[in-house]
Amino acid sequence: MATAAEQWVLVEMVQALYEAPAYHLILEGILILWIIRLLFSKTYKLQERSDLTVKEKEELIEEWQPEPLVPPISKDHPALNYNIVSGPPSHNIVVNGKKCVNFASFNFLGLLDNPRVKAAALASLKKYGVGTCGPRGFYGTFDVHLDLEDRLAKFMKTEEAIIYSYGFATIASAIPAYSKRGDIVFVDRAACFAIQKGLQASRSDIKLFKHNDMADLERLLKEQEMEDQKNPRKARVTRRFIVAEGLYMNTGTICPLPELVKLKYKYKARIFLEESLSFGVLGEHGRGVTEHFGISIDDIDLISANMENSLASIGGFCCGRSFVIDHQRLSGQGYCFSASLPPLLAAAAIEALNIMEENPGIFSVLKEKCKRIHKALQGISGLKVVGESLSPAFHLQLKDSTGSREKDVKLLQEIVNHCMDRSIALTQARYLEKEEKCLPPPSIRVVVTVEQTDEELERAARTIKEVAQAVLL
C-alpha cells in the first residue's frame, strides 16, 4: 500500500518535471554546469608571492655568504668572565673564593637562608620528592600548590591567585593571555625585559609612553580616544590595557598608581600591574604598591609578581578577580605547557609568607635601611643615584658618560672589581643589548636587604665613595 502510494507520487513528480517552467530548468542547467566546473577547478592561492625567475634565484644563491655560527666577540665580554659563587647567595657570599657582603642578590627580606624556610623545604622534600614532572593539568597539581594559591590570594586580599613555575614566564604568559592581535597596550618605556617579551608574544599594538610621565600617557590615550570615535565599531572590539610595574627594575622608581587608576577609569583601559620588586617591600604589610598608596585592590585588574625576590622561592604568581585568573588556567602558556612548581619550593614560599605575616615590622626596617644608604650614597663624585629613597634596588649611573657604552661598562666594571676586592659584592645591571626596546644606560645595581647591619651599610657607602674617587678621577 505504501509503495504504491509512493510510486504514484513519483509518477506525479516526473510528470511535473515535464511541465516545469522554463526558467527553472535553465537555472538548474546552469547549476549543474557550475558543479562540473567546481569539480574540475584547481586549487590556487589568492595572493601569489612575487616569483623570482630561475636566474634571479641562482644569483641570490651565489651571492650568499654564510655567517659564522659563533660571531666573534672580544675576550673580556662579561658572559665569558663570570664570577663563581660557592655556597648560598645569602648575606655573606663567597665570590671567587673571597667572602663578601652581598649587595647584589634580590634577597630583600633575608629569607633565603632562614632556617624555618629551609626546614619547611626539607620536610616537603622528604614528603614529595624533588620535582613534579608534569604540568598543572597533567597530574602536576599538588596540595601545596593549591595551598600556596589560597594563601597568596588571602594575603593580597584578592579572590584568586595562580602560580607559575618560572618568574620570567609569569608576566610573559599573562599578557598574551588577555591581549591579542588588534588590541592596544600602553606600556612604560622602562618596562623590564619580561614585559617586553610578553608584549612581543601577544602581537598587539604597543604604544610606549615616557617613563612615569602621566601627561604623555594621557596624550596617547586621548589620541586613541579620537581614533575610536572615528570608528566606533572597531573600538568596541579592541581591548585597551595599561601595563606598569610597581617598582621598576631598570630605574628603581615607583609608578604613580593613583593617577594611573584615574586614567584607567577615564579612558576605560585595564591595568596590569607587575609587582616583582614591590611585593614584600612596599606597603605596611608588604602587600605591594597598592597598599603603599592606599588604593583598593579591586581597582587593579591583574597583579603579577615573581616570588624570586622577596619570597626567596622560585616562580611567580598572578592574583586578581576570579574570572580574570580562571582564564589563565587554560590560556596562560606558561601555566598549561610547562611543569608546575616543585613542591619543596611551594612549601618554602608558604613558610616565607608565614614569616612575612608574623612580623610585619621587617618592612619598616627595610625602608629605614634604604633611606639610610640612599642618603649615604648621595654626593659621590662621578656617580649619581638613580632610584627612589624607598626602593631597595637602585642604580648608580655615571654622571657624565664617556660617550661609548663599552667604555662606560668597563669603568663600572672596574669599580665593581675594586669593591669586590674590599669584600663588597656588587654587580652591574645586565641587559641583552640587541633585544631591549629602550636600553637603559649602564649602571651598578645596589640592593639593600634586611640582614645588612647599619655598620655594613656605612662601610659599603664609604667603600663605594673611595673606589669611585680612585677610578673616576
Binding site: M13, G182, R233, S331
Partner: protein, 121 residues
C-alpha cells in the same frame, strides 16, 4: 540527517523539502560565513581573528576538496528540493534565494568582502 525532518511535522512533502533546504542553508550561512575567529588558540597568533570559518578553511586556499564538497552539497539539496516541490513558483523563489545566499560568499571574489560593513569587526 537532513532527511529526518520530513518525518516529524505533518506538513506536505514540498513544504518539508523547502524547509529542509532553508534550514540547511541558514545553518551553513551562520556557521561558515557569520561567526568569525576561533574558539580556541591557534598557532597563527590571532591572524584569523577577523576571518570567517570559510575564509580560514585550508589557510585561504581556494577550491580545495573540502571547499568543493561544501559548495556542491547545497546545490544538490536545491536540485532535490526543486524536484520534490514540483517546481512551484513560491517555493522556487524561497529555495533560490536561500541557495544564492549560501553560494555567493563561497566565490573566491568574495574572500574577505564585507557588504555594507556588516560583520566587519
Amino acid at each position: 540527517l537532513i532527511l529526518l525532518t520530513p518525518f516529524i511535522p505533518f506538513f506536505s512533502i514540498p513544504v518539508v523539502w523547502t524547509l529542509t533546504n532553508v534550514i540547511h542553508n541558514l545553518a551553513m550561512y551562520v556557521f561558515l560565513h557569520t561567526v568569525k575567529g576561533t574558539p580556541f588558540e591557534t598557532p597563527d597568533q590571532g591572524k584569523a581573528r577577523l576571518l570567517t570559518h570559510w575564509e580560514q578553511m585550508d589557510y585561504g586556499l581556494q577550491f580545495t576538496s573540502s571547499r568543493k564538497f561544501l559548495s556542491i552539497s547545497p546545490i544538490v539539496l536545491y536540485l532535490l528540493a526543486s524536484f520534490y516541490t514540483k517546481y512551484d513558483a513560491a517555493h522556487f523563489i524561497i529555495n533560490t534565494a536561500s541557495l544564492l545566499s549560501v553560494l555567493l560568499p563561497k566565490l573566491p571574489q568574495f574572500h574577505g568582502v564585507r557588504l555594507f560593513g556588516i560583520n566587519k569587526y
